[in-house]
Symmetry: C2
């Protein structure tokens, strides 16, 4: 298909850069990955990004590349493509990432944060397709969210909106890495699930989770909780039930405030909990004031590991 | 000013209808009020609304009325002006309020819920003027909220969005009248403030609040807490500090999710707390992940008691 056009999606993280060649249907037809040089100069960070783009472009010379989209940790300005001061990317301080990449590759470049971009990919090509207003949550090591209104990313005043993973839902709860008490992230992310399991193990070591962690509660992961749940372990069941209640309470808040057309859930924990995602709506009984919450589907995202690359690509116009 | 044009704003409640003649600057130049007949037939409910409108129109025949705006309790459909099934207005079930009033008065009629409408009045004529994205909260007997994006009310999927007063922030907290645990409404509304004061009085009757309630904790109101605070009562101080922390935690969530340009606070409790509204932003330290929360003003609303009438008027085009 030498005449088909493509965009390059680039997902910049603190330790690696992933990139992909993405077609108009949102399929990632080629993948690349390079280490990120996050602590060096701005130029060495840019070089790492560029290396990933070059890998994708190699041997694709007969394909038309129309644009490059990039996800980066924030704060950043999605209007100008300037990366402001991400804690995990010390190399970039007020760095004009979009302009720099555009100068190198002579195509339009868009920059946004990963959860916003992933939300857009779901609307364009994934589980949010056909909906105007979409709430996207990715639950994994952390919890990120993106909001799509009328088919476009909702940015707020500066581009820092849609940080729904740090919505506080337990004002007296444990403190999150962000400094706030009782964010949904500290309660229901992978590490949050593991922490709650560990707490329960302190008073009950007679659990499959304890066995899977080889007797060391510090080794407990959310995956072990899921494995133990699968074989009927009561402690694991308690932890999973709590997790679903926390997610339902949080998403109930989203329903009442945002009333989206659909809720799309991505990330490793969502995948692990995918058999129960539909059931979250049952838990909304007595948790939402919206009169028709059952009309809002809660569905698994199309994109998993590739959400960042697909999201970055979704930032660009495709045809 | 016989040639100036006006709109009529109508605020329908469970027990009364307030109406006003509103000019292009958002001033309410004439007020009216009738009892609401909420439990009778649909027609008697309509007649009560119409009586209030007639009162406003009396003697204003030389003034041009261009439209009528109405706030009603929801659920309602702001697109069609149909009131669906408000719990406190049993008279109206799928009642085409906009069409009925339009048929009587031959001018365009708009219907929306009170907090949405009040938010719009603040953007058009009040403390939100000059801002595009505004979060409005009214804290009184309950907590209502409205969200303005790009100068327009954000309605969500069906018009039931922006119920921020029922955002749950204390998953293990006291149950709200809505059925949910730990809504900001159950914690920080007037009755929520009184309830927390009562709880503290149980273990400490040596407080000015106790005296103001004439020794009966059941008589405690949020106003008594404010009065006791004003004379340095330690228990009242504790209750007010808690209230501000709750409001800061809640508004911190709003900053992180919505990142509005400004937060406008209305209602009796906000007025009572107005000396501290600015300080809410100081409490955001360690409560928000947004990098620039201090750039978001927290200000008192222009409209108090009249927020519903002004809001209803704001639903209509004025010039």
């Amino acid at each position: 298909m030498p005449n088909e056009s493509y965009v390059v999606g680039v997902d910049v993280g603190g330790t690696k850069v992933a990139a992909g060649l993405v077609n108009a249907g949102g399929e990632i037809i080629k993948h690349a990955r390079t280490p990120m040089v996050a602590t060096g100069s701005a130029a060495s960070g840019l070089a790492a990004v560029n290396a990933a783009i070059q890998q994708v472009l190699e041997g694709t010379s007969d394909r038309k590349i129309t644009a490059i989209g990039i996800c980066s940790p924030g704060p950043l300005d999605p209007k100008t493509g300037v990366v402001i001061n991400p804690p995990n990317l010390p190399c970039w301080r007020n760095f004009p990432l979009a302009d720099e990449v555009q100068a190198l590759h002579k195509v339009p470049v868009k920059v946004d944060n990963d959860a916003n971009a992933a939300a857009l990919a779901e609307v364009k090509w994934g589980a949010g397709r056909g909906y105007k207003n979409v709430f996207y949550g990715t639950v994994g090591t952390g919890i990120g969210t993106g909001i799509i209104f009328d088919g476009r990313i909702y940015h707020g005043r500066t581009g820092a909106a849609a940080e729904g993973g740090h919505m506080g839902i337990d004002i007296h709860g444990p403190r999150c890495g962000c400094g706030k008490k009782g964010c949904v992230e500290v309660l229901a992310s992978g590490p949050g699930i593991a922490r709650r399991a560990r707490q329960k193990l302190a008073s009950n070591s007679n659990s499959k989770v304890f066995e899977l962690a080889q007797g060391n509660p510090q080794h407990v992961t959310s995956e072990m909780v899921a494995q133990a749940y699968a074989v009927g372990d009561p402690l694991a069941r308690e932890v999973i039930e709590e997790t679903l209640d926390v997610l339902a309470y949080w998403l109930g808040n989203i329903v009442d405030l945002v009333e989206p057309d659909v809720i799309v859930m991505g990330g490793g924990v969502s995948t692990m909990l995918s058999p129960f995602l539909e059931d979250i709506r049952k838990r909304w009984n007595g948790m939402v004031v919206n009169p028709w919450p059952q009309q809002i589907p809660v569905v698994l995202a199309r994109y998993g590991e590739d959400a960042g690359v697909a999201g970055a690509a979704a930032l660009c116009p495709t045809n």
